[in-house]
């Protein structure tokens, strides 16, 4: 599985996320309040909506369309109307860069 250089650690505020597009796929990369970085699929599993306009609250991402929520560490669907879990990807930080392992 290739590691992709996605962004700088400073590109994402704490308790926030950004969108990252790569090779025709879209991802969401998160900076948690405790300083960790996580990555998930970029779109909600309910409808075709980018999560990057959503709200990060602790370890939850709330979708901007219908307020469905996922735990972005595990991808687990936490609040209706989302029922299908979100795909997650491994991340690592090297230097000041965030890498994600895409499948």
């Amino acid at each position: 599985m290739p590691w992709i250089d996605a962004c700088a650690t400073t590109d994402i505020d704490a308790e926030d996320l950004i969108r990252f597009d790569h090779a025709g796929a879209t991802y969401a990369i998160y900076h948690s309040p405790d300083g960790q970085f996580y990555a998930t699929a970029g779109k909600c599993t309910h409808e075709d909506v980018h999560l990057s306009d959503g709200l990060v609250m602790d370890h939850l991402i709330e979708c901007p369309k219908h307020n469905g929520q996922f735990d972005y560490r595990t991808g687990e669907a936490k609040r209706a109307p989302v029922c299908i879990n979100l795909k997650t990807f491994k991340t690592k930080v090297e230097g000041a860069r965030v890498y994600i392992e895409v499948s």
Binding site: E47, M57, P64, K65, H66, N67, C83
Partner: protein, 360 residues
């Protein structure tokens, strides 16, 4: 366009899917991420305050109504209680359903369940119908919450002010859900995993209504029904009044909320009852923003929106004649001017897709 078919299983809904109008990408005013993040922040405090005021007033008004019953002096208290039960419940159902009223999830859930019961909506079904209303706002055949269909049925609209059509629709469905199960229409927008919840909620609600009715029969008095059930009729007028303004007379089958939704400046009491949903374009464009931050959102994006109506009366003055014109011509809708600072409407998309002609 031929006559609109609002059924969720009909040809208009299918057509909306075919031409890409369903689940489309909607217009959004650009708001810097940092500003939007601040606006989206959740907090328990404003909704706790408002909920204590709401339930406190309801208890006080109902107590006064019961104490003065059956004297005419009880009437003002019932009117006040009724509007909180029958109208404020709609906005609480709405905001708590979005999960934006409180920061704490269980608080949203408790208020959502109570409000759903009072406003006579199955809490499990309506959570999903409202999601569809946000995905496909006023897309014919897709949106299950279109309040004013074309041509407008005025008698029905007027009866809605005393809850008649909603109550007539609610009880048969309640019994159907409780004894037979989930209705085929509901199956189009509620995921299967949620179906047992619909049945459970229906049975609990039905049990409460049966108990209330039994008490009324035993007491030989409608007093129990004045407290539970009837206020959904005698107190519905405010939420119908404000609700009709949300989209009435405006465009359908478009993907820009500035064309199909209306923001109206309102007095503070109506805003309390309605929980700031008078900022309706703002709410649809950014449903993540809690009700208490909508005035700030309005200030941030009003340069890009049509001028808000100055009052409820002014908004009705604009909407009612438009509805009357829709009686004669189903295609008519109000297209409001945008300020010079706004990004223009992209009518080309809507007209191209629909062969529609907007009114000036």
């Amino acid at each position: 366009m031929t006559k609109r078919d609002y059924s969720l299983l009909g040809p208009d809904g299918k057509r909306a899917v075919d031409i890409g109008l369903a689940a489309a990408e909607w217009y959004h005013t650009d708001v810097p991420r940092k500003v939007m993040k601040d606006l989206m922040q959740r907090s328990d405090q404003p909704a706790i305050r408002d909920t204590v005021i709401l339930y406190g007033c309801m208890i006080a008004f109902a107590a006064a109504g019961i104490a003065l019953w059956p004297s005419l002096w009880s009437i003002p208290f019932w009117l006040a209680y009724g509007v909180l039960y029958g109208s404020a419940s709609d906005s609480r159902w709405h905001e708590a359903g979005h999960g934006t009223a409180f920061k704490t999830p269980w608080m949203n859930n408790v208020v959502y369940e109570i409000a759903s019961f009072m406003v006579m909506r199955n809490s499990a079904t309506w959570r999903w119908s409202h999601a569809r209303h946000h995905t496909d706002t006023y897309i014919v055949g897709r949106d299950p919450e279109i309040a004013i269909m074309r041509p407008p049925a005025f008698a029905r609209l007027l009866l809605a002010f005393i809850g008649v059509p909603d109550v007539i629709a609610f009880f048969p469905r309640l019994v159907y859900n409780a004894f037979i199960g989930v209705h085929p229409t509901e199956k189009t927008f509620v995921p299967q995993s949620e179906w047992p919840k619909i049945v459970r909620v229906a049975r609990i609600s039905l049990a409460i209504y049966v108990a209330t009715l039994a008490l009324a029969l035993w007491m030989r008095s409608i007093l129990p029904l004045m407290v539970i059930g009837l206020p959904r009729m005698y107190g519905a007028w405010h939420f119908i009044m404000t609700g009709l303004l949300q989209h009435g007379g405006l465009a359908d089958n478009v993907i820009d909320h500035r064309l199909n939704s209306r923001t109206v400046y309102m007095n503070p009491i109506s805003r309390f009852i309605y929980w700031n949903m008078n900022y309706h374009v703002e709410h649809h464009m950014f449903p993540m923003v809690p009700y208490h931050a909508l005035p700030a959102l309005h200030a941030a994006i009003k340069h890009d929106l049509p001028r808000p109506n100055a009052s409820i009366a002014e908004a009705f003055g604009e909407m009612w004649p438009a509805l009357r014109r829709q009686l004669a011509s189903e295609e008519y809708f109000l297209k409001r001017d945008l300020p010079a600072t706004a990004k223009p409407y992209r009518m080309d998309f809507h007209e191209g897709a629909l062969g529609q002609t907007p009114a000036e």
